[in-house]
């Protein structure tokens, strides 16, 4: 018993000595410098601003710039939330999301949340034009210039054959986030192609990247603005031009996709709140080139979204001032 007690004492003393030596070499204390606390946040009358960030780089560019301006010019406390589209829209109703900055069409969501539940309201265009269509890698457009006309696609169908396309040409579809009419298009334009679902943007980009590098035949569904086009400038294939109403019946579509006016959606509550952040979102407007620039900073130059936003804002002060005037 006594022996054990002695050991205890020895152990405790040793630990105490060790502890004292370690504390003695100290250093700066946590919270002693006030600059850590981030003085700029929350000081303005703006308050909290919950911004949804949908998972693609173009959106991230929008969100980075709006968040940067809201934080530094308006003094808002910005919380960015990484969410898929549907979940972000759901957040309007639960009060956890104030704004969605880049909506691609999504008539289904508009019908459900703007007309149905009335939890969301539109907040105008971002100024970006969303183009959806069929694209081929640049080498292919150069080697066979007529391929950009849909009428010659059947001529080349055999070249697009893969292990997945069951003897026909392969039309690579498939970021699951967007509605496609491609199966109907193939049928109605009488093309000898089969739609193969790649299943993710990553898969599409990787397919095009490889095709350009190894001079392979690939045709698929893609869209702009998209940062990848600054790496490999894909060429769009001309389908029969879009006319209003030609896509009314999903079964009988035989025309190109419309040009989408990408727009902003905010929660109904946020629109009425009188927050300066709402005015910023409403006024936010820029071009495809602007977005591509910031997206390139993020995706290709590997800058953080904040750094990318700062770089662009510093270079485009006039545009920013027009949003926050």
């Amino acid at each position: 018993m006594a022996r054990q007690a002695r050991r205890w004492r020895a152990g405790a003393a040793g630990a105490a000595v060790l502890g004292l030596t370690l504390t003695a070499c100290g250093g700066a204390k946590v919270g002693s410098s006030s600059s850590d606390a981030g003085g700029s946040s929350g000081s303005g009358k703006c308050g909290a601003f919950n911004l949804a960030v949908n998972p693609w780089v173009g959106y991230e560019a929008d969100a980075a710039v709006v968040a940067y301006v809201a934080q530094h010019d308006l003094g808002c406390t910005v919380t960015k939330k990484d969410l898929k589209e549907e979940i972000a829209w759901q957040g309007f109703g639960t009060g956890e999301v104030d704004a969605v900055l880049e909506n691609w069409g999504h008539d289904d969501l508009k019908k459900k949340y703007i007309d149905g539940q009335k939890t969301a309201v539109p907040a105008g265009s971002t100024g970006n034009k969303g183009i959806i269509g069929w694209y081929v890698p640049p080498w292919l457009a150069k080697a066979h210039p007529d391929i950009t006309d849909w009428k010659s696609l059947n001529k080349y169908a055999a070249e697009f054959k893969t292990s997945e396309s069951g003897g026909k040409g392969q039309l690579l579809d498939g970021d699951p986030s967007y509605v496609t009419n491609d199966e109907a298009l193939v049928k109605n334009l009488k093309l000898g192609f089969k739609v193969v679902y790649a299943g993710s943007e990553t898969a599409l980009i990787q397919a095009y990247r490889k095709a350009e590098k190894n001079k392979e035949w690939v045709i698929g569904y893609f869209y702009e603005p998209q940062w990848f086009l600054s790496e490999v400038p894909l060429v769009k294939v001309n389908l029969p031009p879009y006319k209003a109403g030609c896509d009314a019946d999903a079964e009988k579509v035989a025309c190109d996709y419309p040009v989408y006016d990408l727009d902003k959606i905010v929660s109904a509550k946020f629109a009425k709140s009188g927050s300066p952040a709402y005015d910023l979102v409403k006024n936010f407007n820029w071009t495809n080139d602007d977005q591509n620039t910031v997206a390139k900073y993020i995706a290709v130059d590997k800058m953080t979204p904040e750094a990318a936003a700062k770089k662009w804002v510093d270079a485009n002060r006039a545009k920013v001032d027009a949003w926050v005037k």
Binding site: L18, I87, Q90
Partner: protein
């Protein structure tokens, strides 16, 4: 989206699978006849396929919906619309959310997020490393303590300290909540057969239903944030703990319980003093599996704004930045390996301590006390001083890891894609395409009948009935054709998994050295988020079904390999020696002695291989597998496809249950 379906009993006892009442049919005649019967069934199928090809295939185009799918949509919409007025939400879900939110926030403020009035969390890196080391040592041994300290420091050196701690905080909260329910439920299921029968299908459902299906509705119930992420993780991570706890209670020797009874112990006493202490070791294995499953959810939870390493992975992959994604994935692997080794050591500690007559044993208690004091000092310093709170350095190691990963993937992509294309085309054209067209182009009732017949022959009458029910429900989901496409890829992947499993499993089972070298990479393959290796795979194989198959193999083969290695090792030494002295060469020993005697392990490996492959179906959908996987992914992304995604998820569950019941029954027969 690593979806670990872990329903193995802890390794080493593959034969003791769920004590089922089913009697093993004896009789040599039937055993010889079985392959013949299977052959006959397949021949009949082929003949009828040629005659009836393309009829009644129940195909459904990508954008088409059935009434069931529309009904699912309506239900989902009405829940969303009535959220704010429904008392169930106001008084039930909101309360749950509040409690869990508080727990998560508390743990986060402790180790990862700035808390009230402080720019940094309460406990800095030095304190966390100290606690990790101390706890590992106290519950495990000094070797795992060293591993824990090294592992956690490595996370900091990678430049991902805060992200790692966010992941750890979420994992710890989820595991706590999961165990709170899982252990009592597991004990109950262990004590009562009826409860066990009710719980088992529910657990199957929780483990095989793809998370993508319920992620969006979950945020409707519990809002975006920590609570939803935790609950999604709990749903997936709790089942292994329930199953293994129940199993542990069941395997306490009958005689011990009887002895306690005869000594006059009450039920309560028998439980607290006999059953629980005796099953402690196995229960800790259950905790281990729950931790692993929770870590597998990290990247999925990131899709609903869960902070941590998952976010880093998901964001890096938006710009196909493999290096950064790999670095974060490696952090998850390191954390998983540390937690796995520590809990495993904890489960065997007492035995080991008893066996090794360690002369330091007398010193253990004072040393523990001293360790506690030291840890407290470290925690205090990390609370007070910046250098101990914020991990120093710029995470230079992380960027070199990212750089190296980038370089090596580029090299592989540039130099191997010729070979890989040949392999892909060979397997796709030679095996996958014919098999898929056999499944999808036959009339549905023909395939259904074949499946039921195989179920009866392999697993007995009860397995046959289960199969029939599953086939019927598959047809009802409206996803029959897609299910058959997925089934074809699943079977091909499982065959490849078993080939790898037997090859490496035998090698590992026969050599301790090989085992020790290979095991860490197997662990890594199981916990590395698939998103990370999908990008290079896409570059190698394109967006094809084969890419999905390869991804499934990477994930499922380690399990099969481990089970088979255990099975081979458990073949009695004396039998192998007898065969050697009888003049058998190595090849003969493997094929005539070790593999036949490890038959139970082989069947279990097939079962687990299949279930693991099925759990990768959704990941496959992201890289070109189409079918059920794509339906689930699209249902997650597009509102009007929600119902279809849910139906596809149900179809995956049904395929899983069907296979599980057939192979389990077959395993019981093989073991008998």
């Amino acid at each position: 989206m690593t979806v670990v379906v872990e329903k193995t009993e802890p390794p080493g006892k593959p034969e003791a699978t769920r004590p089922g009442p089913e009697p093993a049919p004896a009789g040599e005649a039937r055993r010889i006849g079985r392959p013949l019967v299977i052959g006959a069934i397949l021949v009949v199928w082929l003949v009828l396929f040629v005659v009836l090809r393309g009829r009644q295939t129940l195909a459904l185009a990508a954008a088409d919906l059935t009434d069931l799918h529309r009904w699912f949509n309506d239900v989902n919409d009405s829940i969303g619309a009535n959220r704010n007025s429904n008392p169930l939400f106001l008084y039930f879900f909101n309360e749950i959310r509040l409690v869990i939110d508080h727990l998560v926030t508390f743990v986060q403020e402790l180790i990862s997020q700035p808390s009230a009035g402080r720019p940094l969390p309460q406990i800095g890196w030095l304190g966390v490393v100290g606690i990790a080391g101390y706890v590992s040592w106290a519950f495990g041994n000094w070797r795992v303590a060293l591993l824990a300290v090294a592992g956690f420091t490595f996370l900091g050196l990678q430049g991902l300290w805060q992200e790692s701690m966010d992941t750890l905080a979420l994992t710890v909260s989820a595991v706590l909540v999961a165990l709170l329910f899982a252990i009592p439920l597991g004990v109950w299921a262990g004590l009562s057969d009826r409860v066990n029968r009710v719980v088992t299908p529910l657990l199957d459902f929780m483990q095989t239903m793809p998370t993508f299906v319920y992620l969006a509705p979950l945020t409707l119930f519990f809002l975006i944030g920590g609570a939803s992420a935790t609950i999604a993780t709990v749903i997936y991570a709790a089942p292994p703990a329930i199953r293994i706890t129940a199993h542990a209670i069941r395997t306490v020797p009958e005689t011990t319980v009887e002895a306690a009874d005869s000594l006059g112990a009450t039920r309560r006493q028998a439980l607290l003093k006999v059953l629980l202490p005796m099953s402690k070791r196995t229960v800790v294995m259950g905790v281990n599996q729950t931790i692993m499953a929770a870590l597998a959810m990290v990247t999925i939870a990131a899709l609903i704004d869960a902070p941590g390493l998952g976010k880093t992975v998901v964001q890096a992959l938006q710009s196909l930045d493999v290096g950064t994604a790999f670095n974060a994935g490696l952090s998850i692997v390191v954390m998983a390996i540390v937690l796995d080794r520590v809990t495993t050591a904890a489960s065997t500690r007492e035995e080991e301590a008893r066996r090794s007559k360690n002369r330091f044993l007398a010193w253990r208690r004072p040393l523990l006390g001293a360790g506690a004091v030291l840890t407290a000092v470290l925690v205090f310093m990390s609370h007070t001083y910046v250098w101990a709170a914020e991990f120093p350095g710029e995470g230079g190691l992380g960027s070199s890891i990212a750089g190296a990963a980038d370089t090596s993937t580029t090299w592989v992509q540039d130099n191997l894609s010729g070979v890989t294309n040949t392999v892909r085309d060979l397997i796709t054209n030679g095996l996958l395409n014919p098999f898929q067209s056999l499944l999808t182009d036959s009339p549905w009732w023909l395939v259904g009948a074949v499946l039921v017949a195989l179920g009866v022959v392999l697993g007995g009458r009860r397995a046959g009935i289960t199969t029939a029910v599953c086939v019927g429900l598959l047809v009802a989901t409206g996803m029959w054709s897609d299910s058959m496409t997925t089934l074809a890829s699943t079977v091909v992947a499982t065959i490849l998994v078993m080939l790898l499993g037997i090859g490496f499993g035998v090698w590992m089972g026969r050599s301790r050295l090989v085992d020790r070298v290979l095991r860490p990479s197997l662990d890594a393959a199981q916990v590395m988020p698939p998103f990370v290796y999908l990008v290079p795979f896409l570059a190698l194989f394109g967006a094809t079904r084969f890419t999905a198959i390869v991804a499934a193999i990477v994930y499922a083969a380690p399990v099969a390999i481990k089970i088979i290695a255990d099975g081979v090792r458990n073949v009695p030494e004396t039998t192998v020696e007898a065969a050697t002295s009888a003049g058998c060469n190595t090849w003969q020993i493997i094929t005539k002695v070790q593999l036949p005697m490890a038959r139970g392990a082989l069947t279990l490996a097939t079962n687990q291989g299949l279930i693991y492959v099925l759990s990768m179906v959704v990941v496959g959908g992201l890289v070109g597998a189409g079918a059920l996987g794509y339906d689930v992914v699209a249902g997650f992304s597009q509102g009007q496809l929600f119902g279809k995604g849910l139906a596809a998820g149900l179809a995956i569950v049904l395929l899983g249950v069907m296979f599980d019941r057939i192979t389990q029954a077959a395993a019981r027969r093989a073991g008998a």
